[in-house]
């Protein structure tokens, strides 16, 4: 029994990472007053790009044991750049040209999803890109991973997992303790006042939108390089949408986003473990996959009073 619970929690910690990466970026984006609904597709595209870059560069660095992580770094960087690029398209459309953010987000979802599947189908014509999953960060020799329960939960993960929780704390501190964070929060609440105070409203929004795209790219890199090792057209699996709901649940705070992501990650993990362990018939898995979304629906209803979205969310700003 302890084994199952341990593996559920350890799986939850890993599965929360994708949602956490995306929701950190989206918290910043929504705090600045922009919402990007295309995150789901950005995860997929950057997962493919990251995987492909790593797959192509692995033979170059395979000879040198010191450089064996370089392909993963290159792949991750490529994924981040891809995500940021899509974020730039979104910010150009919504911030500069002031098109309706929701409609533009969904169009970018179609665009980027189509691009990811197109590139994947093109790649599949010659080869199937597969990489080995990034190994755990903490070496086996330290013995930390062998600690009975805590070892599996805390010390057997790869660099992405630690990076996610680390970044959540860092960006939480930046948002609440620095002038930049104050500016971002102010831009989302009252852009007119910010403009009067000499803050470049749209520059901050552009940067936040690009940042949220980059974080979704990081999430995609984790999915393909750190979790699956391959690409599949349904790789995001609704995690982009769940992340947007986690942002509401966490009341636009990166710290609380850790909690929200862990809850949904544990939900996914319970489903996976129940089916993998043979406790329930496998054709029930779709019924169990509904669970996170039901939880999300309940969360939205329960937190409706306490959550106050940034006032200028989805409202474009320009000098009248």
């Amino acid at each position: 029994m302890t084994d199952i619970i341990t593996s559920i929690i350890a799986g939850g910690v890993v599965l929360a990472v994708t949602i956490l990466f995306v929701s950190i970026g989206e918290v910043y984006n929504e705090r600045a007053g922009v919402i990007n609904l295309g995150l789901e597709a950005i995860i997929a595209l950057s997962a493919f790009v990251g995987l492909w870059v790593t797959f192509e560069t692995t033979p170059i660095f395979i000879m040198d044991p010191l450089l064996k992580h370089v392909p993963y770094i290159l792949g991750t960087l490529a994924a981040i750049v891809t995500g940021a690029g899509v974020g730039l398209i979104h910010s150009f459309t919504c911030v500069k040209m002031r098109v309706n953010q929701l409609i533009a987000g969904l169009l970018i979802l179609t665009l980027v999803d189509g691009l990811a599947n197109f590139l994947n189908n093109i790649a599949l014509q010659t080869t199937v890109p597969i990489v080995t999953i990034l190994p755990p960060l903490i070496p086996q020799e330290t013995g930390l991973a062998d600690i009975p329960v805590l070892g599996e939960i805390l010390f057997q993960h790869n660099a992405f997992v630690y990076l996610a929780y680390f970044l959540a704390i860092v960006f939480g501190l930046i948002l609440y303790k620095t002038t930049w964070g104050l500016k971002i929060r102010a831009v989302g609440e009252n852009p007119e006042a910010c403009d009067a105070a000499g803050i470049n409203v749209n520059l901050i929004r552009h940067l936040c939108d690009i940042f949220s795209g980059a974080m979704a790219g990081l999430a995609g890199a984790f999915m393909s390089l750190g979790y699956l090792g391959l690409y599949d057209s349904g790789i995001a699996g609704g995690r982009g949408w769940i992340a947007i709901i986690v942002v509401i649940f966490s009341r636009w705070s990166p710290f609380r986003a850790i909690l929200g992501s862990l809850i949904f990650g544990l939900g996914y993990s319970v489903t996976a473990n129940l089916i993998g362990g043979g406790f329930i018939p496998s054709n029930w898995n779709y019924l169990l996959l509904i669970m996170p979304y039901l939880v999300a629906l309940v969360v939205i209803v329960l937190f409706r009073g306490t959550t106050k979205a940034p006032s200028a969310l989805t409202v474009p700003y320009w000098r009248k």
Binding site: L102, T110, I122, V301
Partner: protein, 420 residues
Amino acid sequence: MVKELEYKKIKTEKKTFFKYLNYLSYPIGLFLAIIVFSVTLLLLGYDPISALVSIPTGAFGNPNSFSETLIRFIPLLLTAMAFLIALKARFMNLGVEGQLYIGALLAYLVGARMEIVPSFIAIPLIFIAGFMGGVLWIAIPLIMKSKLGVNEIFPTVVMNFIAMFVIAWLTIGPLKDPASFNPRTPFLPESTWLPLIDLIFVSYIFVSIFGLAVTIKMYLKWKERKVHPTLYLALTFTFLTLTIIILSMGLLEAIEAITIGEYNIYRLHIGVFLVVIIALIIYMILYKTTIGYKIRAVGQNPRASEHGGVNVTRVVITAGLLSGGIAGLAGFMEVFGVHHFLIRGFSPGFGFIGIAVAALGVFHPIGVIFAAFFFAVLQVGGESMQRGAGIPVDIIFIMQAVLVLTVLIVQKWMSTRNSS
């Protein structure tokens, strides 16, 4: 006084000029989409010209592919309409996909029990069931919005996933056809299938409807007697004559087909008529009735219409339920007209493509009809391109998104130019 009038005239002329400039966004968008398409294919070593040519030939090349295009046109038009009518009341219905699935499910559950019922009773009942399925699925976000004050965007999105997984579970679980390996249900009784119709006849009817619409438009212009009355009178008569000629040709064709007994029947079903009628009804509701006026007023400015004595909540709920019902009808037509069974993932994201269609049709019911047809041409042509040249059909989605994004950006840019 004279000066003032002149000023007014210049101002209105300027406005109409910009109004027509707005249409320039379509060629610009199409141009950019084709550029993206060609550059992508060139980089990957395909021949973009032949690929581009294969799209219209794949969509119109033979009667069968034209019938496929019209079949694809049906769900695209309905989902776009569903999104549009809710948007007019400022309700972002992002859950069209889910309502489509549940509409199809409810219609299936009713239809599967209609083996002995004659089809002229069964099909209307199933039609209502499909409508109610969509209504049921949008009711939850609607209640959450109107009673609890929850923004509709996230509930509608979440309901999509729930609907998708419910269908996936049912088609491999309780409703699965034991004789099939695919995740699908048994075939529906044949009496509930939507009747097939003659392709040539449909084409003639559509062309004459279009001609009639243009005739009416010209007649109204002539009645205004503002500019060039003689020209518009002449145009009215020309289009009227053309329409009558086409209609009589269609009738002759139909009589000939009936006498010889030779029909041009492919997979095209009667839904193609129904959707165009539904689109026209929505146009009438939105622009010619009081409730439509209220819906548009609420969409323009909820607070002002509240002060004007409109019950905003009730108007939003009316528009929302209508939207969900139409989305449900899309699922009903897809299942009863094309597949004849319920299968996992029978909709390749029609709900989301519908939003792009609505945006391309500048959120106007008539514009959406043309936009939906254009998207159907692109998709069916793209599928034939995939079969022919081996280019993945996903590039069509890229092209569509680039086209709509460019159109939106250019229109927004021009409207800001216009106002300032």
